[in-house]
Amino acid sequence: MKRVFSQQCEELVIKVVQRFEHSTSAIMSSPVSSEQTKTKRPSSSKFRQQQLPAWQPILTAGTVLPTFFVIGVAFIPVGIALLTFSGNVQEVVKEYTQCNSIDPAHNNATCDEVLSSPNHTAATPCTCHINFNVTESLNGRVYMYYGLTNFYQNHRRYVKSRDVNQLMGQTDSALSDCSPFATADKKPIAPCGAIANSLFNDTFELKMLSSAGAELAVPLVRTGIAWPSDKKYKFENPPGPLTADGAFKNTAKPVNWKRAVYELDPAHPENNGYENEDLIVWMRTAALPTFRKLWARVNESAETFKHSLPAGEYRIVVSYAYPVTSFGGTKRIILSTTSLLGGKNPFLGVAYIVVGCICLVLGVAFLIIHVKYGKRGTDTITNRTDWSGH
């Protein structure tokens, strides 16, 4: 009985398979019907007979050398262009890891030392000044980045330590990936995870110093620094007002944070919560341990800074709160214009030129080889009768 049943099942399946095969074979090969009739003569289609029109290049010095010339000729201009682009980017980089506290109470100690001193409280950030001279005005839109080195944002454990659902506004997320930064005081941390916990929290003010010693605050725009897609879809606040009792009810702030997530940007009420752009930028983990992240851009609408950051003396007032020496890192502040390629990076341009040159040299070498040996190579073949292939 069982056997009969399985036989029937088999036949059913075979029928289905056959139908399927028939339809597929109809696509693959038209003369199926002729096969089913008596003759088994294969179709003479070029595809089946493996006789499709083909181009069979043989890579010899002679055939390859045009390629080299073409590559060389194409790459060198591209390289030069890239180098020019990169060279046009103006950049001011100031490392401030060891900047001195301006607070007289700190006795001219570095902010780093102040931070690591035992009687330091988180509530009072250390402030320091970075003074620098911009000799040439930075033309175009000027961006302000902070840069870190030796910070492994790409570490496997670190990268994983976030909860996408929570950041998209779901309050009931399990936060399983965030451990050990998932809960504090039995309340879920918002936002949870190591990335959020390590949010960069130095703040900067850029001031232009007039010769008279007066300070002119450079207007900075702190929004629009994150990817629009991130801001729009990937990060969303939970429903409710951005208060302790509203959207973030029953949550704890990350252990390293001084302020809760809904208080990140007191100046702009809508730039708070998960949608805070600093947070979003920070959450987009860097690929390499030396990285920079956009902090602000100079507001071009201000009259003085239209289209450029004029040359002159500047000061950046740093509210120094982020410790980096514990992991051997450094902090930088960068003012930079952009080009087609982004920041200042001559690598691609140089590489293009080098590779282009190599190709040209190879092309010349191959030309010589071809002229000298190309013909002889085939002549030896003509005279050669030993075909045994050894």
Binding site: T39, L52, A54, Y158, S161, F291, R292, V355
Partner: protein
């Protein structure tokens, strides 16, 4: 045996009487011959006693007797003894079977006949008896026929399902005896479960691996047997550990699911092929007796049940193992052809069960009420015994394998038979012997597996480095890592290292190219598809394509180093044509012509005018009157007459008057009963009545036209229409033309060997017609004397020692007794009476001359002789002969002496020459294969002279070769000969080497003569240097060489290494397999065996690649083969073109695949330098999983299936290009490392270019990963572009589509991935990366070009300075095309040149044909 009926014990009418009764009966009957077995068996007295008691115990009711294991054992022992002497007591049969077994299976002394049946052996062990003594007799007998299968490794199927079903089998096994009740005797309302035959398997056959229900579990089970899949599974599980996990759990499963899914679909389609063939078999029809309708009805094979009565017609396949109950033959015998089973091509006789004999007209299926008892199914083809209990008489009649017709056999020479099914379906001997398909692993794959192991080592190295780095990185921190989430409190670098190690295993898993296996399988499937579809491998004559039965060894075709070929049917057509005869020293030659048209075309010959005249005027020559007043012929005329008479008589040809017809139609209705009988009788009487006057000899162009009287025609017309009206739905494979024409009125000859057929037919053409033949008499029509009847006194059958056969005939009219003998010249000529008179000497001399001439022409020669015997002489001999026959001990020896006593002092008549026509294109093919560097061995069962002749005619040997023959008759002689030749050749070679070295050749070094170096790289060149040698070895000598104990294997192989061609003659099928095996094992060479007959099966299965020629000798070779060709000459294209391509493609594909994976892994590894060795992956996990499976999967397919490094016609025209594959030049051991180095370089370029380009930027990890992925993709595609040698739209599409597919996929995926939280990282990344800045494109182009630059440079330099032979040939062609475009276009590929190469044609053209063609192509011909 006459006492048979009398001593049948009549047991009580127990429904299922015990088999031991049978045993007892047999034992008692066979006690004298059992002596031998007993003497070997010290424990026999008590055992015997035991058996006796058992036999007495038959009074005990029921089968309970058999339950005790001991009893069962002894009972079986009884059988074994009884059967140890084959046909004990069946004198009549004995001769026939002996004569039949022409194939001599000489086992090398070291060989022991293995018992195949696993079940049998376990049973034996359980019984605790001594297996040797128990089964000795039987296994000896069985080994002869089963040896064909001995080499085949029985795969003990250990599948789960077998285990589950084990208990059931066991219970069946315990029964030990099966009782079969005819189904029509069982009351129709019996419930299915209580049906006496219900326990037996039905005739439904399933060779598929899976059923619908078992597919999923079984396939999964099988797939997880593979290392690669287990590895994958391990990784999936590893990823479930949260600490280690690198990917989302679902994503990690993706590759596994994908690979296994594809494999499962592939398996399903493969299995479907088997299913279809099963269905074809299962739905064949046969006629089964139906009780309800009272006659036979047509039924499907699968519906045949044990206990059914089956009716079979001539040439029908036997559907199940049948016990013969009734047969149309008056002698109650029928013939079956068991070629499909044991490979023996001779017909075997089967007898009707005793007690039913002679019931010709009275037998009716419904009247058969007997019960059959027999042993349970075994694999042993000739082990069958039991008894039939006739219901009425309660008589118990023993049955043996003589009564059993085996499934897959073909009924021959019998109109119809009826039998009862005793074993059906999977319990038939044919299916029990049917080993499943073997899994062959190709050389390339073996090498590849080695590289995979290297990959594992590299992987482990990377993981260890990563783990160490991770620990060190962590150790660099004092007590905590700020901001970093560690689940443990204090830093623990070793623990972190350990965890990271496993993470590395997961992220670097791609290093193990798991998808490579499934890619390989699909590629091979497609390659097979293209081979199958090759128009030039299609034979329109037989309407057959080349069939690839093995799907996974296509590339082996491109690496063949040794080719072993069968001769008959493979090189030759096995169509014998009578070409020459010498009578009394006068030579008559015949030209070959083709007769018939189209499909029925067959070679024939033109009658020799002179001989025809002599024969037709024989009555005129009947002039001399001797002293008794009788008319006598002139001496020459007498010789001519005797010569032809001998041709007609001295054979084992069976004569049938009419095509065997059955009075039963396929649907089971009786048809034609009267007319068929009547017409055949009429023909018979007419023929007998025809006197010479009535049928005068025709000397016209159609001499064999027989006038047909009107009456005949009328009869014939009836017969014809009726015949045609028969439904032809039966599996009538070998049925002859079923439209009888007047011409076919001549008797139908059915011969065991085509030689005999050729002789008889030749005689018939000369009007010496064998008309009728029974066991005792024959009727021959002679031109001068008309119908003459002879009494056949004795037949001295052919055997391979005497190499001759004789008949002793008595002329019924004159009572004259004559011995006619024909045989091999070497054995016959010494027996010819020493000539005294000049004339006889002259005749002997001339005949010998002619023999030499014929031999040189490649004809098979036979010497014909006669001897007149006086009555007394004959009677004296007969008494001695009878004595010898009845002897028990030393019978064989005595018989041989008796034969020798008769066959002496013969009178030489003449000799015949039969041509075994070469197949079309054989010499060209062999020549091309040899030129391709393949060492060709021909292994034949034929005799040395014939074999050498064929070797010359097929250009295996050329005239300038020195032929070394080794015929040793002892081990010492063999050793001496081999060492002598070896010394000589090695000295010669050393001399040549010295000369070559002095002459500045330089390249050739003398190697230490280790076996491995024999073939190593340059078999061809070493052979060429020392002058060409050819080696001929005969079967006996081979026995010494092949014996592993004789230490001669290696010297022998070394000797063959010096020879460019080897010919082994008189080999047995098993020896063929042994030769292949030692070459395979000792030399490690890749072997290909090609054959057409069942005797080649073992060789085909032993070789790495087995090729079957679907010729005349059944399908057995084809079934065992990996590739089935319609013609031998297709081998050239199969190897030189498809083999070359497949090897080249696969080799490059595998290397590319390994490179591709390694590059990807290295790139990920470099990233670890930048992420604290944490095991982070910048590439999105989906990309990572799909990169190999999807994004870069098309180029390997394009290379693996469609790339051609060289066009087909060039490969055909220049066979030496095959060296590339033969010497494994594409995939060398270092190729892997070269590719790894390239991968390393490319990964460095890719990663560090990306790292530099994004140095100190705000790039995030996923955008960086996306760029790196694109860079990898571009690099790998550019790499593929360099690897592709022949660009078609497929290749271009593969490259473009890969790129397009990636971007489309990435764009879509990046847009929707937010829906899956675990994959959200990549949201909108590619959109940003591709639009925000051009860095991605710039970096990809730069990295791609830089990465492939070294490969491009080296490749082109290589082609410029040291091009490979293939590249050189291509370049030459390119140049030729440029200078003379027309000439090249007109180049004709070889395969299209058709040469009907009969021997003479070939010999005149010799090498010149090749040379010409080469020159046409602008090639210098090979000197």
């Amino acid at each position: 045996m006459a006492a048979q009926g009398a001593d049948g014990v009549t047991p009580p009418a127990g429904a299922a009487a015990a088999g031991s009764a049978v045993a007892a009966a047999l034992l008692e009957r066979s006690h004298p011959p059992a002596g031998r077995t007993v003497s070997h068996n010290p424990t026999s007295p008590e055992r015997r006693g035991h058996v006796r008691s058992a036999s007495q115990g038959t009074q005990l009711p029921g089968p309970s007797i058999l339950k005790g294991p001991e009893r069962a054992g002894t009972a079986r022992r009884g059988h074994a003894r009884a059967f140890s002497h084959g046909g004990v007591g069946l004198e009549g049969l004995d001769e026939v079977t002996r004569a039949g077994s022409k194939t001599e299976f000489t086992l090398p002394p070291g060989h022991e006949a293995r018992e195949r049946s696993g079940r049998g052996s376990t049973a034996r062990q359980r019984h605790g008896s001594r297996p040797d003594s128990l089964f000795r007799g039987h296994s000896r007998q069985a080994s002869r026929s089963e040896s064909v299968y001995t080499l085949r490794q029985t795969q003990q199927t250990s599948s789960l399902f077998d285990c589950l079903c084990f208990w059931r089998k066991k219970t069946l096994e315990e029964a030990r005896v099966r009782v079969v009740v005819p189904n029509h005797t069982v009351p129709p309302d019996t419930p299915a479960k209580q049906h006496p035959n219900a326990a037996f398997a039905n005739n439904y056959v399933r060779t598929t691996k899976y059923t619908v229900l078992s597919f999923l579990p079984k396939n999964l089970f099988e797939q997880f047997h593979r290392f690669a899949n287990l590895y994958f599974l391990f990784i999936v599980l590893l990823n479930w550990v949260p600490e280690i996990s690198a990917f989302g759990r679902e994503v990690a499963m993706l590759p596994l699911v994908f690979v296994m899914g594809v494999t499962a679909i592939k398996d399903l389609f493969e299995d479907r092929r088997r299913y279809l063939s099963d269905r074809r078999v299962n739905t064949s029809t046969c006629r089964v007796y139906d009780r309800d309708s009272g006659h036979y009805v047509q039924r499907l094979w699968r519906d045949v049940r044990v206990g059914d009565l089956v009716h079979l017609s001539c040439d029908e396949l036997i559907p199940a193992d049948l016990l013969l109950l009734h047969c149309s033959d008056s002698q109650d015998v029928c013939y079956i052809d068991t070629c499909n089973l044991d490979g023996e091509t001779n017909l075997k006789q089967r007898r009707v069960v005793r007690g039913l004999e002679g019931k010709h007209e009275t037998f009716h299926a419904s009247k058969f009420f007997g019960t059959v008892e027999c042993n349970t199914p075994t694999t042993k083809l000739y082990r069958f015994h039991g008894s039939v209990i006739h219901q009425r008489s309660q008589q118990r009649v023993p049955i043996t394998s003589d009564n059993l017709m085996l499934r897959e056999g073909v009924l021959k020479n019998t109109d119809y038979v009826e039998g009862i099914v005793v074993y059906a379906g999977h319990e038939t001997k044919a299916l029990l012997n049917n080993g499943g398909p073997r899994y062959k692993r190709s050389k390339l794959e073996r090498q590849m597996n080695m590289e995979v192991i290297y990959c594992v080592i590299i992987l482990l190295l990377l993981c260890f480095t990563g783990a160490t780095g991770s620990g060190l990185w962590l150790g660099g921190f004092s007590d905590t890592v700020p901001f970093f989430p560690y689940s443990y409190n204090s830093l623990n670098p070793p623990l972190e290292g350990f965890i990271t190690f496993w993470t590395f295993v997961i992220i670097l898993q791609v290093m193990i190219p798991v998808s490579l296996y499934v890619t390989l399988e699909i590629i091979k499937l497609m390659q097979v598809y293209h081979i199958h579809n090759d128009l030039e491998l299609y034979d329109s004559g037989t309407n057959k394509r080349t069939e690839c039965r093995a799907l996974n060894i296509t590339e082996e075709l491109g690496q063949v180093q040794y080719l072993f070929s069968d001769k008959t049917g493979t090189l030759t057509e096995n169509k014998m044509v009578f070409r020459q005869c010498t009578i009394g020293g006068i030579d008559y030659s015949h030209d070959a012509v083709m007769e018939g048209t189209g499909k029925f075309e067959k070679p024939s010959f033109v009658l020799n005018r002179r001989l025809q005249d002599e024969l037709s005027h024989m009555d005129i020559q009947l002039s001399v009157v001797n002293h008794t007043g009788e008319l006598l012929f002139t001496p020459h005329a007498a010789r001519v007459r005797d010569f032809f008479l001998l041709m007609a008589c001295c054979n084992t040809v069976v004569v049938a008057k009419h095509p065997h017809k059955d009075k039963l139609s396929s649907s089971g209705t009786t048809l034609l009963e009267d007319s068929a009988d009547e017409s055949s009788q009429t023909i018979q009487s007419q023929t007998l009545a025809t006197t010479p006057e009535e049928a005068p000899l025709e000397t016209s162009d159609a001499p064999d036209f027989v006038r047909t009287p009107k009456k005949w025609r009328r009869k014939l017309a009836i017969g014809k229409t009726d015949w045609l009206s028969l439904p032809l739905s039966l599996p009538r494979k070998t049925s002859r033309s079923n439209t009888p024409t007047p011409r076919e009125l001549r008797p139908i000859f059915e011969a065991e060997s085509p030689d005999e057929m050729a002789l008889v037919e030749a005689a018939y053409k000369y009007n010496v017609k064998l008309l009728r033949r029974t066991n005792t008499h024959m009727v021959v029509s002679l031109p001068a004397e008309g119908l003459v009847e002879f009494e056949i006194l004795n037949v001295l059958p052919f055997d391979s020692d005497r190499k001759r056969m004789s008949v002793i005939l008595r002329h019924v009219a004159t009572q004259q007794i004559v011995l006619y003998t024909k045989g091999a010249d070497s054995n016959m000529l010494p027996l010819v009476e020493t000539a005294t008179d000049y004339q006889s000497q002259e005749i002997l001399y001339r005949t010998q001359q002619q023999l030499n001439v014929s031999s040189r022409r490649g004809l098979r020669v036979l010497v014909l002789a006669k001897k007149n015997l006086s009555e007394e002489e004959y009677q004296d001999w007969l008494t001695a002969h009878r004595e010898a026959e009845s002897l028990v001990g030393g019978r064989e020896h005595k018989l041989q002496r008796s034969y020798a006593a008769m066959e002496n002092r013969l009178e030489l008549l003449g000799c015949t020459g039969i041509e075994d026509r070469l197949q079309e294109g054989v010499p060209e093919t062999l020549c091309a294969l040899r030129e391709a560097g393949i060492v060709v061995w021909v292994l034949t069962g034929d005799k040395q002279e014939t074999a050498i002749n064929i070797a010359y005619s097929c250009r295996l040997f050329s005239q300038d070769m020195e032929v070394i023959k080794i015929n040793a008759r002892s081990k010492n002689a063999a050793e001496r000969t081999v060492n002598f030749y070896l010394d000589q050749l090695e000295r010669e070679r050393a001399e040549v080497a010295g000369a070559g070295g002095g002459g500045g050749g330089g390249g050739w070094k003398r190697r230490p003569p280790t076996p491995a170096s024999l073939w190593s790289t340059d078999t061809a060149s070493t052979v060429e240097r020392g002058g060409k040698k050819a080696l001929v070895v005969d079967g006996k000598t081979l026995t010494y060489f092949l014996d592993s104990r004789s230490q001669l294997q290696i010297p022998f192989l070394r000797l063959t290494g010096h020879c460019s061609a080897v010919l082994c003659c008189r080999t047995t099928p098993l020896q063929k397999a042994y030769i292949v095996r030692i070459v395979k094992n000792q030399l490690g060479a890749l072997t290909l065996a090609v054959g057409d007959g069942a005797n080649d099966v073992s060789m085909i299965q032993t070789a790495d690649v087995g090729v079957g020629i679907s010729g005349q000798e059944g399908m057995q070779a084809v079934m065992a083969s990996d590739f089935a060709l319609a013609r031998f000459r297709y081998l050239q294209r199969l190897l030189l073109v498809h083999g070359h391509w497949c090897y080249d493609r696969l080799a490059r594909m595998v290397l590319y695949f390994l490179y591709k994976n390694a590059t990807f892994v290295f790139v990920i590894f470099w990233y670890q330098l930048y992420c604290g060795f944490s095991g982070a992956v910048m590439i999105d996990q989906i990309y990572l999983s799909l990169f190999n499976l999807m994004f870069t999967s098309l180029p390997p397919f394009a290379i693996g299936i469609y790339d051609q490094d060289c066009p087909a016609e060039l490969l055909m025209a220049q066979p030496h290009l095959y060296n590339q594959g033969r010497l494994s030049q594409v995939y060398k051991p270092h190729s892997f490392w070269v590719n790894m180095a390239d991968a390393l370089y490319q990964s460095i370029v890719i990663f560090f270019f990306a790292a530099q380009a994004y140095e100190d930027t705000s790039v995030d990890i996923w955008e960086f990963g996306t760029t790196v992925t694109v860079m990898c993709l571009v690099t790998m595609l550019l790499h593929a572009c360099i690897e592709i040698k022949s660009w078609t739209w497929i290749h271009a599409a593969a490259i473009v589509l890969s790129l397009v597919f990636f971007f489309v996929f990435a764009l879509v995926y990046n847009a929707v991935c937010l829906a899956f939280p675990s994959l959200a990282g990549s949201y909108w990344v590619i959109q940003m990366a591709t639009t925000d800045s051009p860095t991605l494109y710039l970096a990809a182009v730069l990295a791609g070009v830089t990465a492939v630059l070294p490969r491009l440079v080296t490749r082109s330099l290589q082609h410029t300075f040291r091009p490979s032979p293939v590249a050189r040939a291509m370049l030459r062609r390119r140049r030729a095309e440029e200078s003379h475009p027309m000439e090249v276009l007109s180049t004709v590929p070889w395969s299209s040149s058709t040469s009907l190469s009969s021997v003479s044609v070939v010999r005149t053209s010799e090498y010149s044909g090749v040379g010409e063609r080469l020159e046409q192509n602008g090639m210098p011909s090979v000197a």
